[in-house]
């Protein structure tokens, strides 16, 4: 073989080609990826995970959770609905246009009526164009399709943005257990997650997940029972002992709760059920349709679940000794929202009295992560849940407080808060 060098050179080029294709090119295309604006909102996605959840990602890695669990939702396509929002002034014209789009429509059309159901994006866009030409206003609702989504494993397929802040990225390749991409929405109770880690079969019959006993400590119950002890079914309880999660277990559970696939992104539009978050779609979409307290409340719950609930709990009871409760809190139920808005916008540091008890805590500022509207919704939700019965909060009120405390506020202290009028 005289051309040995030529063979090796050709092989070198061929091998190097794949390096350029699947190492260099992805880095050039995606290496500088930035946060995306969530459709029809001012929020960006993704925001970093809270500290505990970030540590939990490392527990996920160390214990090899990815050996059995994927974090990739697969999506087949989308099914779109066209919903009439407002028939406008010329009802006749809109009626004609709607019938032209969908002859099967019966009777007079009214607002909130579905004009097209389960149609392709192109059809819905065209139909929406006709309705708006006739003076009506219609909204597109996008529903992702596919078996994973039908199983409730996420609202839409996983996209590159979902992994932006993960290191290491562990999408997994085997489903010996369920997909975890949307675990935080599906099973948002941290106690459930911890009990499930400790004894999977006590919650899921026939589960093949190994019990992660080594992430928990069995302690003799002393004079002061640990507030973090698991609430276990009687057959698992150890007499005279309590099962306390180690920090690693708590972080892992917090990480699982932080996993969610429910944002509507430009490259993966989707309409959350109940229109709780802003609807997806083109220019036809009106923002915050069906506004009113119900929608705000639902939207607030979604934000609360993904952010506040991680510490304050989905029951609003907080964590004894660490995180004060929101249910029944005098700060939450105050007449005005000056103090409450300051806490959530600027964060909190140091001693504060809540519910007759002293707390020493440090709460992160949420002002950068949440828009005025979102914060208003979540505060409304907090003020009207778990027995709280205070008034709703508007975006303008939040905006006013935001303006008052400046762009980069220091965390508040209890004394500072007291000096602000309610």
């Amino acid at each position: 073989m005289k051309n040995g060098a030529l063979v090796f050179l050709a092989a070198f080029v061929a091998l190097g080609g794949s390096w350029c294709g699947f190492v260099l090119a992805p880095q050039l295309q995606l290496g500088g990826m930035k946060q995306t604006i969530i459709l029809n909102s001012s929020e960006v996605y993704p925001v970093g995970r809270p500290g505990g959840a970030n540590l939990g990602l490392q527990a996920y890695r160390a214990n090899g959770c990815a050996a059995c669990h994927t974090k990739q939702v697969r999506q087949d396509g989308v099914a779109c609905d066209l919903i009439l929002i407002n028939a406008g002034t010329n009802r006749m014209a809109v009626q004609t246009a709607a019938l032209a789009v969908n002859p099967a429509l019966a009777g007079l059309i009214g607002s909130r009526q579905t004009i097209l159901h389960n149609a392709s994006k192109a059809d819905v866009d065209a139909a929406g164009g006709k309705i708006s030409a006739a003076g009506g206003k219609a909204e597109i609702s996008v529903i992702a399709t596919g078996p994973d989504i039908a199983r409730g494993w996420g609202l839409r397929g996983s996209v590159a943005e979902d992994f932006l802040y993960d290191n290491p990225v562990q999408p997994g390749s085997l489903r010996a257990g369920p997909d975890l991409a949307d675990e935080g929405t599906r099973l948002p109770d941290i106690n459930w997650q911890l009990v499930h880690l400790y004894a999977p079969r006590s919650l899921i019959e026939g589960s093949m997940m190994p019990p992660y006993r080594y992430l928990f400590e069995v302690r003799k119950i002393g004079r002061k029972p640990s507030p973090e002890a698991l609430m276990l079914p009687p057959d698992l309880a150890v007499a005279g002992c309590e099962i306390v999660p180690t920090p690693e277990a708590k972080e892992l559970a917090e990480y699982l709760l932080s996993l969610r696939v429910d944002t509507s992104l430009p490259d993966a539009p989707v309409t959350p059920p109940g229109g709780s978050r802003a609807a997806a779609g083109g220019e036809l979409t009106s923002s915050q349709t069906g506004a009113g307290e119900d929608a705000m409340f639902a939207r607030g719950r979604a934000v609360y679940g993904s952010l506040c609930g991680l510490c304050h709990g989905n029951d609003g009871l907080g964590k004894p000794g660490q995180v004060p409760p929101l249910a029944g809190s005098e700060w939450v139920n105050a007449k005005g929202v000056q103090r409450l808005a300051r806490i959530s916008l600027a964060g909190l540091n140091g001693r504060i009295q809540v519910g007759g008890r002293d707390w020493n805590l440090s709460m992160a500022a949420m002002g950068a992560a949440l828009s005025d509207a979102d914060l208003a919704d979540v505060l409304t939700y907090v003020r009207q849940s778990w027995g709280n019965q205070a008034g709703a909060v508007t975006a303008d009120e939040v905006l006013a407080v935001r303006a008052a405390i400046g762009a980069r506020p220091q965390p508040m202290t209890g004394d500072q808060l007291k000096s602000v009028s309610e």
Partner: protein, 498 residues
């Protein structure tokens, strides 16, 4: 004489020059001895992982033995512990044989081999203690990876220096495969460690690089080394020249051209061009895979003397067949419609096991059973166990791969029907997983026999060496001739060492 005949190793290339074999004795024992140890260790870990599907609470209280750590440790022990050092050892031997030149500076590969096995030890301890990097097939923590990289660098450099200094200047098809493989591992391993572990890139770029690395290590690297070895042994055992030289050049070229682009799963959350490109590349990879199948078939068929019935030849024929089958499975899963069913199911692990064990490990067993007795200068202590090993491995691979593949398809079909509960889909795979445990058990027994033979051979050699030294030391009063010959043979052994 045609080109084909000229360029194919035949009886003449297996040199009677014992210096070539003797020069490789210590490095190969170091490489294969450690490899045999990790092979058994990997099998034990795989058994532990598999038993957890019978009883999830088995050894669950011990964090070092939780499924998520044992499973990758078992895979890495097989790949990094056995496959790569075995492949490197066979490559060293092939270079020496084909180049008709004894290995020079044998101490360097010995040190590199020890270093490599140390790296595997560090890596496996890292995974089991919870310090895995979290990247598929790259789980070893940084300390282990660095040791592995420099051990490999040393071995590859030494192999290349000896390749350059070969006496027989002709290049054989095996040469292209092995040289490309020696070089390619350094590239992919350094890239993956640099961009995933040392200074990680952001977001899904990690996923792209990880998939590229895993494919190029598991598919391309193993194929280059395994097929490179098979292209030497198949003609040799069947007594026919490789059919044909130009077809193998074509297979080599298309393999590195197309095979390297496979590996991005069709449903990956990456920009659409990547999985699409990967699917196209996988489709084109049918060409080299079938070409290799045709070459092997035409070389083996029509040969009327099958040496070593049930021995090396059988191992290598089975390995080549497994290569074609596992590659076709890989190509099938790159097709979006098939991937819709098989992705995220046990079909993937079935394919990987067929590739790692059915193809590569089997080919290496065949090569080692053939070459090690020649190199060490003693026969296998238990030659019958080698034949038992073949049948155990054959049935083990079948019982491991078939149930997993079928179970994977069943699982995939059920998962695609959302009205079937997830737990029902999971439970449907359990009978298949449990049968695969039997396959793993057979493989474990087979691997034990292999290790027994290797360690037995090493022991026989060491005993003879000690005897020789003892004779040389205690024989000053013997006749000069005998003592002279004893010390001369000792000197020869010394030469080998240095």
């Amino acid at each position: 004489m045609t080109v084909n005949e000229m360029k194919t190793p035949d009886a003449r290339t297996e040199t009677p020059d014992s210096r070539v074999d003797a020069s490789l004795r210590v490095p190969l024992l170091a490489l294969f001895g450690g490899a045999a140890f990790w092979l058994v260790a990997g099998s034990v870990l795989a058994m532990i992982a598999s038993i957890k599907f019978h009883a999830p609470a088995f050894l669950a209280a011990c964090s070092w033995l939780t499924y998520g750590r044992v499973q990758p440790a078992a895979d890495d022990a097989l790949l990094y512990g056995f496959c790569i050092p075995a492949g490197l050892g066979v490559a060293l031997w092939l270079f020496a044989q084909l180049g008709q030149a004894p290995l020079r500076g044998a101490i360097v590969p010995v040190v590199a081999a020890k270093l490599w096995h140390l790296g595997v030890l560090i890596g496996l301890a890292g995974i089991l203690s919870g310090n895995s990097t979290g990247f598929a097939w790259l789980e070893f923590p940084r300390a282990g990876s660095v040791v592995l990289f420099f051990a490999y660098l040393l071995l590859a450099l030494w192999a290349m220096i000896n390749f350059a200094a070969r006496h027989e200047r002709a290049l054989f098809p095996s040469h292209w495969f092995l040289v490309a493989a020696l070089f390619w591992f350094l590239w992919i391993y350094s890239t993956a460690n640099l961009f995933l572990v040392a200074c990680p890139v952001r977001g899904v770029v990690q996923f792209a690089i990880n998939s590229w690395f895993a494919n190029n290590l598991l598919f391309v690297w193993l194929a280059l080394v395994g097929i490179g070895a098979a292209f030497y042994f198949l003609p040799k055992f069947s007594g026919r020249p490789l059919q044909s030289y130009y077809l193998s050049l074509f297979a080599f070229g298309t393999l590195v051209l197309f095979g390297t682009w496979c590996g991005i799963p069709p449903g990956a959350p990456l920009p659409a061009w990547m999985p699409a490109l990967s699917s196209v590349a996988a489709t084109l990879t049918v060409v080299p895979v079938l070409a290799i199948g045709v070459i092997a078939w035409q070389t083996v068929c029509g040969s009327n003397h099958c040496k070593l019935k049930g021995g090396s030849f059988c191992f290598i024929r089975f390995g080549t067949l497994s290569f074609v089958l596992s590659s076709l499975m890989l190509i099938a899963t790159a097709c979006p419609r098939i991937s819709r069913v098989t992705e995220f199911t046990w079909f993937g692990p079935a394919q990987t096991q067929l590739q790692l064990y059915g193809f590569f490990a089997m080919t290496m067993f065949g090569a080692i059973y053939h070459l090690l007795p020649r190199v060490v200068g003693f026969d296998w202590p238990f030659p019958k166990l080698a034949r038992v090993h073949f049948w155990l491995s054959l049935s083990g691979v079948l019982l491991l791969v078939l149930p997993l593949a079928i179970g994977g398809v069943v699982q995939g079909l059920k998962l695609n029907h959302p009205e079937i509960g997830f737990m029902d889909a999971l439970k449907a795979t359990l009978p298949f997983l449990r049968v695969s445990t039997i396959g793993l058990m057979l493989l474990l027994f087979g691997n034990l026999l292999f290790a027994l033979n290797i360690f037995g051979l090493a022991f026989v050699w060491e005993k003879a060496l000690v005897k020789k030294v003892f004779a040389a030391v205690t024989a000053p009063l013997e006749t000069e001739g005998e003592a002279g010959s004893a010390s001369a043979s000792l000197r020869r052994d010394k030469e080998v060492w240095t």
